[in-house]
Symmetry: C2
Subunit: 400 residues, 2 copies
């Protein structure tokens, strides 16, 4: 039976993993060959990574082996990196091989958007992956450990710059404010020696959030020692800090780049028409002009008609897209109507470290501990969708 | 009563702290003013530091606040660094002040001996202090954390060079072999990627030890992946490794310098006649030509007549000297005979990590677990001498 259609899914993030999981439920063993390609043998919760980055959570809590979620008797798992999609030949070139497809799901993750600022890749931490964030965590600890042994340039060791006051930047600095007192104690350093900056080019922190929530977040973080520089673009990242457009220079050995993300560079390399690595998908989530290629997650661009701007790429949307994508592939394989994808944004909550958060759920604004509890409920919900209650029990967060 | 003699002790290592402790027992409150000067508000167990350096013990276990050991109602504690001893003026210049003395006890610690090899201070880790070793530990972890994020020069990150196969070098690399498998697991790195070198200029590892013990130690460490280069002097430490006299270059971002120690540079700065920072003391432990200055610990040079070589500076000798020194100061203050110091070397045990060690106690050679147990007994004994049974309970090691 070589006539079984080959379905290949690239990426085991929220979108890819959920698509694979759904497909194993919707298609029988004899109806399709399902292959999942991923760089690592584990999935990680991107939305949790600010915690291991700051060292407030162990990185193992934010990742899980693929087979926690997928039955690898039903899915062929290939651990490899994607180099290029050869659309004409219906195959994907991997670093160590290649794989043919009849249907392809591109669920590759995002990359840091530098906005052309020089020095980001060379001198800033910008990889929001398990490997990336545990380097950030160890780097921060190493700064503290060096302090008492250095005569000159000690202040730079304890100055931390977060570029970008968006979701990721704010969540990371929130955790950092929780971690710094612990590190000061561990390394015998007075708390006032540590400086934390958040630098944002836009005229507000947390653009898109309600101003009342933004104010709450900034006041709270300032009370924990964070200094904001808003409406203040960065001109360049240099070896020992950042130079701002206004000419000011901040000396720092730790610049964390969190100004936002773009789609995956494999998209452009493979010749798709794209905006910053994201493909404006059809309503059924296929790439325009391609009956056989679906795009879900960070590489899929969908316009929110209400405000005429793209939906930000979130775990929530990726998980929802996966459902539609799997259902549409089933329709192609077994016959049936393809469905249009409609996002259902239930809310957004940003954690601020400890028991603090801000957010909107439905039309309701949340602050403080109630927002923090909601954040944990949301985190657990993504686990539930991926792996059911047993995954929540294994990896979930206690809301109280 | 300004006529009370002022006794000043410089350094709260084994020798200084023990001298202070003994003096509070031998002299009444009205008989002397005792001042202890130390850079930190804590004492640390130098002989334990190979463990926190490798990360197999938390650094707090190897240190204790001064007042765990001394009653600070009986001793005036000054937290400051010694700059110079002004012998003519009978005073000591500190970084932030000065202090007069009638009797001075110089118990300052050792410094790394570079033997003139260029680059040691710039590119190697050579400070065997709490601050120094926790930097080593964090540096090592940071190397592992960087590995997966680097395309080039990855091997250098996981190559560790220990310069010196003496006591400290061997004890450190022993702990490192225990720690490496944990770090490999933590950072998803195959064990075989890690290289550990011990480089020794002398024709043997552990000079002064019985050849049978040396062979046991080397065989064991080699079985755990250590590569020895014996009779192989280092020509230079460079930014990314070491260059050997034979022209070979080993690329490494972590060079730990453990080729031996010299006395404190304050000794030379203060104009004492000294050999590599150590003063050849009189039999009563006073500096030649100085009735009012005692030297104990790492800065005291005493010849072992049996082999016509100096005793190595150890915790064991420092603690014994402190007893003689305190007794002799008491004699000067209250009258009586000064005693000559006679070392009583009970034995030497070097740990090799985990439950392994080698050593000699009395005339008996010890290997493996019995040596490892003895090592812990010795470690506990130094705690007992310093702070009695209560300190052993707080900080001691379980021998089994």
């Amino acid at each position: 039976m070589n006539s079984k259609p080959k379905i290949v899914i690239l990426g085991a993030g929220y979108g890819g993993l959920m698509t694979a999981s759904q497909l194993t439920k919707e298609l029988g063993y004899n109806e399709a060959d399902i292959t999942l390609v991923n760089k690592h043998e584990y999935h990680y919760q991107t939305t949790w990574l600010h915690e291991p980055a700051a060292g407030t959570m162990h990185h193992d809590r934010a990742r899980m082996p693929i087979d926690y979620i997928l039955d690898l008797k039903k899915v062929n798992f290939v651990q490899d990196s994607v180099v290029e999609i050869k659309r004409e030949d219906k195959k994907v070139i991997l670093e160590n091989g290649e794989v043919d497809y009849d249907y392809l799901v591109v669920a590759l993750g995002s990359e840091a958007e530098t906005f052309g600022v020089p020095g980001v890749h060379e001198h800033a931490f910008s990889k929001w992956t398990v490997n990336g964030v545990r380097e950030v965590k160890e780097h921060i600890e190493y700064q503290f450990a060096q302090y008492h042994n250095r005569e000159e340039g000690r202040d730079e060791l304890l100055t931390f710059v977060v570029a970008g006051a968006g979701f990721t930047g704010i969540e990371f600095v929130g955790e950092l404010t929780e971690r710094v007192p612990e590190l000061c104690k561990e390394f015998d350093i007075p708390r006032e020696k540590v400086k934390m900056y958040v630098i944002e080019a836009a005229p507000t922190a947390l653009p898109g959030f309600d101003p009342e929530l933004v104010e709450y977040a900034m006041d709270l973080l300032e009370s924990r020692g964070v200094e904001f520089k808003i409406d203040c673009p960065i001109k360049e990242v240099i070896e020992d800090g950042v130079i701002l457009n206004n000419g000011e220079e901040i000396k720092s050995e730790t610049v964390v780049w969190a100004t936002g993300v773009r789609g995956n560079s494999v998209i452009e390399k493979s010749g798709f028409e794209a905006m910053r690595g994201r493909i404006k998908v059809e309503s059924d989530l296929r790439a325009p002009g391609h009956d056989d290629i679906f795009i879900v997650g960070d590489c899929a661009l969908i316009i929110n008609e209400e405000i005429n701007r793209p939906y930000p790429p979130t775990a929530q949307i990726a998980l929802q897209q996966a459902g539609t994508c799997a259902s549409n592939i089933k329709a192609l394989v077994k016959g049936g109507e393809l469905k249009a994808f409609t996002p259902d944004i239930k809310g957004t909550v940003a954690s601020l470290g400890g028991k603090e958060a801000i957010g909107v759920v439905g039309k309701k604004k949340l602050f403080g501990t109630s927002a923090s509890m909601m954040k944990k409920v949301i985190d657990n919900r993504s686990l539930y969708l991926l792996g059911g209650m047993s995954l929540v029990v294994k990896k979930g967060k206690k809301p109280f």
